[in-house]
């Protein structure tokens, strides 16, 4: 695992009307790392992703990918660089089979160049590549799961389908918004509300509260941080206890 930052986010600020959603957030992520971002509801996690991937224009701040300034690139250009993201509220094509849902990312210039996740170069038949990716991510080919209508799949599979959408781009970075999963060989930025599982997997974490970064570091250290405990639990209870449900 190289220790060069693959992504650097500097001083991102974003306000909506009178509300400061992101106060001044900076962090960097190293290549191949699994980096967690946690925070209670309304702490600005999704806004942060939207700013990094240019779905929202930030008021100020810069984002660097391997040293290149991508702060004002269009969202699809950022995706074509290999920086992918999932959406918390998924909207797959329910009336289509699962593998057809991957057609769109397989149309991208990047997929054409790289052949998608585990592809060997130029893109082959899109349907076949789609099915391969789904199998890779746990859709059992033998039980014909990839061919099932998306409407008949349970949430767990749908979340993986969302990840597959990112994999189709052969990503360098995946930013997972409330999707829990394990991947290797890629840098992962995981936005989570469920602390326990995240802490087991992530190598470093950052905690957001009201648009500000209040802690960053190894999970064990962050768990002990007073401010983090107060923000999340409102008291000095231990973060080892199961966190409350609900989406961030």
């Amino acid at each position: 695992m190289k220790l060069e930052p693959i992504l650097q986010v500097k001083n991102v600020k974003k306000a909506f009307g009178g509300v400061q959603a992101l106060v001044d957030v900076s962090f960097s992520v190293n290549e191949g790392e699994i980096f967690g971002v946690i925070g209670p509801n309304g702490s600005g996690k999704t806004t942060l992703i939207n700013c990094i991937t240019s779905f929202i224009r930030m008021d100020s701040g810069k984002v660097f990918y391997r040293g290149r300034d991508i702060s004002h690139h269009a969202p699809h250009k950022i995706a074509n660089l290999g920086i992918t993201r999932t959406f918390q509220i998924m909207r797959p094509y329910y009336s289509l089979p699962a593998y057809k849902n991957l057609i769109i990312p397989l149309f991208s210039p990047r997929a054409k160049r790289t052949g998608g996740w585990r592809g060997g170069g130029k893109l082959g038949d899109r349907d076949a590549v789609g099915i391969d990716i789904l199998e890779e991510i746990g859709f059992e080919r033998d039980s014909f799961v990839p061919y099932k209508m998306a409407s008949s799949l349970p949430t767990g599979y749908l979340k993986r389908l969302e990840l597959a959408r990112c994999l189709a781009l052969r990503p360098e970075i995946i930013i997972c918004d409330e999707v829990f999963s394990e991947m290797d060989g890629i840098t992962l930025i995981m936005i989570e509300h469920r602390l326990r599982e995240l802490f087991r997997v992530a190598q470093r974490v950052m905690v957001l509260n009201f648009g500000e970064k209040i802690a960053e570091g190894k999970p064990e250290e962050v768990m002990e941080d007073e401010e983090v405990k107060r923000a999340y639990l409102g008291s000095d209870r231990s973060l080892d206890e199961p966190s409350e449900g609900g989406k961030g």
């Binding site: 269009a74 699809h76 057609i103 769109i104 990312p105 781009l169």
Partner: protein
Amino acid sequence: MKPETGERRRERLDRGIKVRTEGIYAISSWEEMNYLLVPRLALIVGMLILPLAMPSMYWQRVISIVCIYALLALGFDFLAHFVGLVSLGGALFIGVGGYLAAILNTSLGFPIAVTIPIATIGGAIICTLLLLPALPLRGVYFAIVTLMYPLVLLRIIEALNILGGTEGILGVASFPNRWVEQYLIILMVIVSLFGLRRLVNQDVGLVFRGVKDNDQAVKASGLSITLYKSIAVFIASGLGCLGGAFLAHIYMWAGISQFALDFSILPIAATVIGGGGTLVGPIVGCLILVPISELLRAFGTLRIVFYALILTAFIVVRSEGLMVYAQRKYHQFERWVRV
């Protein structure tokens, strides 16, 4: 759409034969093949026979006009229901295509066989460029811009007295004979219909649908929304410009009335009445509305009021449109089910 009455519920299921004709099984027997082919053949044959069934020159002219509107309506349906862009200004395409063909013919002396293709493709390029600024933006901007262009261009031509001013460009060549005129345009409509059908059923059709339903996911998947919208606008405006070029050669003239409101509102009314999202519906809508409009010609612009009001009525009542209803009846059956 499943009204509850007491303990019963209406249920809609695909007919057996519809399910049997999906995929490769469609050619397994005559019954299946007929199920798929008959409606399509009926449409094609019907359209091809029409000029023979109505040999009077007046009605043949009407058929040509129906086809021109059909091209516009196809474009509108494609843009609105397959890509999510509402085009309020079909007149823009007709006008650009018409003027372009007229100029190519009268000023540069090109024959019809050349003016029509150039007017179609060139016109499509011009219209796409004109509409380009609105494409990266939300749908309402596209609607506004398509609304504005015909209204403004018409007034500019009038005020600055360019392109023939209120008189227009006269002396445009006509078709060698009226059968060529008729069948060429009918052919264009049929080709466009089946071509578009094919297009939206390909994988790229999924991309367009994504642009319409979930553009965030499309952007996040590395595709440029603007690019795909541009492609869609190019296709739709090409159809409209084709119609405009035909119009110029049929009437041997291109003028500001080609930016008229009929061309903007009738395609919309035809689509809503005929059934949006089917690509066939708009054509059926034109077959109904254009002859009526001819009959109403004596009433002046009342016919526009008529289209607008019918259109509004259909939208408010949330009618699905003729062809959607027809397709539903053809493909599905209903029954009552105990809850």
